[in-house]
Amino acid sequence: MDSFLRPLAAASMIFAGALASTAPASAQQAPIKIGVPTSIQLQVGRDTQNAAKLAAEEINAKGGVLGRKLEIVVADETENPEQGIAAIKKLTADDKVNVLIGGYTSGVTLAQLPHISSAKTIYIGVGAASPSITQKVKSDYDNYKYIFRAFPINAAHQARALVDFINGKLKGEMKLSKIAIVGENAKWVQDLVPILKKGATDGGTEVKMAEFFDTSTSDFSPLFAKVKDSGAQYLIVILSHASSDIFVKQWHDAQVPIPIGGIDVKSQDADFFTRVSGKANAETVGMFAIRAPLTPKTIPFWDEFVKRFGTAPVYTGIGAYDAVHIYADAVKRANSVEPDAVIKELEKTDHVGIAGKLVFDETHDVKTGPGLQNLLFVQWQKNGERVVVWPKEAATGAMIAPPWMSN
């Protein structure tokens, strides 16, 4: 069920005001406006805004771009396509922004695409993972060349990373060769699961069951019972919009005798462990970045972010920070904010970002691989410590079993 609030805000989104830099704008030149469409009521949305603001301030402190300051304008796209479209229209038609950086829900971003294309405004996605988003860039370049994705790696790449975790870590090291997959009914999951199933099966892992549930599901006990009955030894969970909190709490309280892990976006939050009173202990979460020397920029950014905003950034924050930088660089190189010129330069991006090197492929999608952005598997361990358990070369500790299974 949806929030009562959404329809009342029929054609609208909450305009969070210009979170522009505190530095005085240069008098002669109008600022370059960066529109941020995101879900402002969620952590992913707050971090997107905060990180974009942080990046803009850094750039402005060094004199801005082409002598112009960067200004951030935010619009709430919620998790609802209608609101998402309204947000894009507001930013492009009313605020007349030069670039859009944001996004979270794949379905919302997909719904926004035709409106972005008709507004002829560059869009750099930092939240949505569906591969379909950048598909049209190649097939209909003239209309969709405006679309880029800087973050995260798309769902197909994520699925392959997850397959690597399943076949390498679970089957290879832990000898857990029977898994179950549960995921929410959402576009990016639909894109991800078939690849995941095939990859796991090809690698010799047995997929005992795969089931989808509604994002509004509030009782997972039947699901846990089914997983238990299926004989699976490990439960892969794929969710972003459904409640990770309920999922983990019910898993813990019923002491389900099967460890869980996967891509669980809300459990990437820094406060997730405390939010569920430590019940996330032993859950493994795929993360796009952590506080580790992934690149020279990772730890300084991480610490600055925590200092400024009191919380560790979630993935959209990392993406937004990088996206503002690569856009500013592209404008500098193009010596113009004209979309066509900037697009040409954006395509040449080779930027050392927070989570790895940022390079676009021919569909304007961020590339993955060694040295580039990657999915790291991180386990919540006692006292809320986060330990990297996979890939092997990045591991910072051993994987533990849930407390009720360890003896």
Partner: protein, 284 residues
């Protein structure tokens, strides 16, 4: 099978706690209260504020939360619903407005973050090989106790008899000298209190979030239609039917079909027997 039996019982008990209050206020005061889900949400948030922010121990915080919400219900009925009682649509709209206002207030005060209410019982229990968290069993036991208490209250006390009389014929009750308005206040307090108690008991294993009241509201609605608007035994029977059929559907088909169960039950009931299983008779 045993799993279905146990988990179905838990769902049914929670649903019954929600539905009984909803049907009671309709049966007695003819108020179709769309703000019923807000009571549930407010109960959970009250428990959160009292335990996490004011650091009051849970066993004290829980009854306090229930009382606070019962008070809120009384105020709402007295000042917002009563003046508009002559129009059914106006009552629907005002209670809807209250639920919107509550949801929005929770958003403004607490944000959309999930909040955590501590469990009363941390232990896991095993019944015949079925694992179940202690908190769920507590919700089951509490639900049964609440229903029993309510039944005894209505059957055995003078006040209960008065409530019964008002529900059967408000005008006649008024001639007999029963202060109907005061009865309404008492009933809305009971109604809000039971919903809040459900919120307090359930929130440790579900999430506490501003929109949390909506789904329980829909469920209460469905149960009351199936059981018969205004009938307490009807709503208890319907809670069992829905609680169990949802659990069965979740186990045998898919969890994503469960939400459909209650809606289809409503439509079938309205088509075959619009007054519900035990409707159009006395309220009790």
């Amino acid at each position: 099978m045993l799993q279905i039996l146990i988990y179905g019982a838990v769902s049914s008990a929670i649903y019954a706690m929600l539905a009984v209050g909803f049907t009671l206020i309709f049966g007695v005061a003819r108020i179709l209260n769309l703000a019923h889900g807000s009571f549930y949400a407010l109960g959970a948030y009250a428990a959160y504020v009292l335990t996490s922010l004011l650091k009051i121990p849970l066993f004290l915080a829980a009854p306090l939360a229930v009382l606070l919400v019962a008070g809120f219900g009384v105020v709402m009925e007295r000042f917002l619903v009563r003046p508009l009682r002559q129009s059914q649509l106006a009552v629907l709209m005002i209670t809807l407005a209250v639920s919107l206002a509550v949801e929005q207030a929770l958003f403004l005060i607490f944000g959309s973050e999930y909040r955590n209410v501590p469990s009363f019982v941390a232990e896991k229990l095993s019944i015949g090989g079925v694992d179940i968290s202690g908190q769920r069993l507590l919700a089951l036991v509490a639900g049964v106790l609440v229903l029993l208490t309510l039944w005894l209250f209505i059957q055995r006390t003078r006040l209960g008899a008065a409530i019964l009389a008002v529900s059967q014929d408000p005008e006649a009750a008024q001639y007999m000298g029963i202060p109907t308005n005061r009865i309404f206040s008492i009933v809305i307090a009971i109604s809000a209190g039971t919903a809040a108690l459900a919120g307090v008991l359930v929130s440790p294993f579900l999430t506490v979030q501003p929109t949390m009241g909506l789904l329980p509201m829909v469920k209460a609605f469905a149960i009351v239609i199936v059981g018969g608007l205004g009938s307490i035994p009807g709503s208890i029977i319907a809670s069992l039917i829905l609680g169990y059929s949802e659990t069965i559907v979740a186990y045998l088909i898919s969890t994503s079909w469960t939400e459909l169960v209650s809606l289809v039950a409503v439509v079938i009931t309205l088509m075959i027997r619009p007054s519900g299983i035990l409707g159009r008779r006395a309220a009790f």
